[in-house]
């Protein structure tokens, strides 16, 4: 008698509990994961969460963000490249682990061949900032000071071989100055170090709160054009420094996702980008400028930039 009872219980267990449909009928029929290669609360992370949330409306399923940090973004990007290409695991595509790091050290993935772009939704924003009581008022002044005092000026970055590092070194070579990179674990540590006076400047994420509170001055931004939110900060390009590094934040997938699913993903995320909730959210956060490239353009952009950066970094190594 007891055995019957148990068997019935078993049957109930296996029929009721696995409610979700068996088999892949309509995409998406379960939640989608987005791997963010940087820490929670950071600019890339928040932007990904925002667009993920808005995209939920168009995808019909929830979007779950997972952080996999480390190695200037390589750990998370490697995880994305190794994920099953069924459209349920996506990732945030960011500059450093795709454009710069792979050219300098060996990574387990090929940034162009193993990844598939979906859309670009923002431009990654980095700036060179100093504490507000620093004697440097413009970027030029730092360069001049560094030229006269080699090896004195220090700057913090969020990882060796990250885009900021490569760029600052390039500027150093062009301007014939010698300054020292100090790598930190992430944006917050760099900003603490700068605010505490331990490094001369920070080449990292822009911190709207410190800037607005006038505790720090941002001397230049790594963008191609001035940001509408902060029109008073010059870009490095204006100041005469060539900035070949493409800064982007977008959504991507591992290579091999079936075409109809890719189309649906591109479609949903594009609609999410165009949704006023997204642009409003971006404005409220004040972290990054929004920018759109569709799948074709974004892929082409990544591929082309990858080649360019490859040559650029080869030059640097000489």
């Amino acid at each position: 008698m007891r055995t019957y009872f148990v068997l019935v219980l078993l049957l109930i267990t296996f029929t009721i509990v696995p409610g979700p449909a068996l088999g892949q009928s309509d995409f998406p029929n379960k939640p989608i994961t987005v791997i963010v290669p940087f820490g929670p609360g950071g600019a890339a992370d928040l932007t990904s969460r925002l667009i993920g949330k808005v995209a939920e409306k168009y995808l019909g399923q929830s979007v779950v963000v997972v952080n996999k940090t480390g190695g200037a973004g390589t750990v998370g990007t490697a995880a994305l490249a190794a994920a099953k290409p069924d459209g349920y695991t996506l990732g945030t595509l960011v500059t450093s682990p795709i454009m710069t790091v792979p050219h300098v050290i060996k990574v387990t993935y090929h940034p162009v061949k193993d990844l598939e772009a979906i859309i670009q939704h923002s431009i990654l924003n980095f700036g060179v900032s100093v504490r507000s009581d620093s004697p440097f008022m413009t970027f030029k002044e730092i360069i001049e000071y560094a030229r006269k005092n080699p090896g004195v000026v220090t700057y913090g970055t969020s990882g060796t071989n990250s885009a900021q590092h490569i760029l600052m070194e390039q500027i150093a070579r062009e301007q014939k100055v010698e300054w020292i990179q100090v790598p930190f674990k992430g944006g917050p540590e760099i900003l603490s170090a700068m605010m505490g006076g331990h490094v001369s400047m920070a080449a990292t994420d822009f911190s709207p709160s410190l800037y607005k509170a006038k505790k720090m001055r941002t001397l230049a931004m790594f963008l191609n054009e001035r940001w509408s939110e902060h029109p008073d900060i010059p870009t490095l390009k204006e100041l005469g420094y060539q900035v070949p590094v493409p800064y982007f934040v977008g959504v991507g997938a591992p290579k091999g996702v079936p075409e109809p699913i890719m189309k649906k993903l591109e479609d949903s995320f594009t609609k999410a980008y165009q949704d006023p909730e997204f642009s409003q959210g971006m404005k409220t956060m004040g972290l990054l400028p929004a920018f759109y490239r569709n799948r074709k353009d974004f892929s082409a952009f990544i591929a082309k930039s990858f080649e360019e950066m490859g040559r650029y970094i080869q030059e640097l190594k000489k």
Binding site: F5, V6, T13, V17, P18, L22, G23, K30
Partner: protein, 147 residues
């Protein structure tokens, strides 16, 4: 007469040597600018010295061995179960794997009443799915059957 501390300290020494060789390969850099292998190398040398000390003390003192308990094979059985659970987890999915694991683990000790084992296993699967999968929204793997 060998005793356990000697054996374990030798293991540690072996690990230390292995680690130090790998650290050397990473590059020591200079004292002024330590490379990636610098501190690891120093640590492994330190471990090596400590393990030699342990070895010497063990040789001089000769303690008795704690030995293994009566049921040490059960430990192996449990461990094996855990390993298999981990390997099958993503293939069979959370629900089935957990169910099988619970049965296996409960079978390791008497009294082995099939009915109560099945009951406890099912309950565990249901409740843990509720707590972790539904409430805490942990992503529990779904296997080939889609559950």
């Amino acid at each position: 007469m060998r005793n356990d501390d000697q054996v374990t300290s030798l293991f540690l020494l072996a690990f230390a040597i292995f680690f130090s060789i790998e650290s050397l390969r990473l590059g020591m850099g200079t004292l002024r600018e330590p490379g990636a292998g610098f501190i690891p190398f120093i640590s492994s040398v330190l471990l090596g010295c400590l393990s030699i000390c342990i070895f010497i003390i063990a040789t001089l003192k000769k303690k008795a061995s704690p030995g293994f308990g009566k049921d040490w094979k059960k430990g192996l059985w449990v461990l094996g179960g855990l390993l298999i659970y981990d390997l099958l987890l993503e293939r069979l999915g959370f629900l089935i794997s957990t169910f099988l694991f619970m049965i296996l683990a409960l079978l390791s000790f008497p009294p082995r009443r099939l009915a109560s084992i099945l009951l406890v296993s099912s309950l565990t699967v249901i409740i843990s799915y509720l707590i972790f999968g539904v409430w805490l929204k942990v992503q529990l793997p779904k296997g080939i059957l889609g559950i």
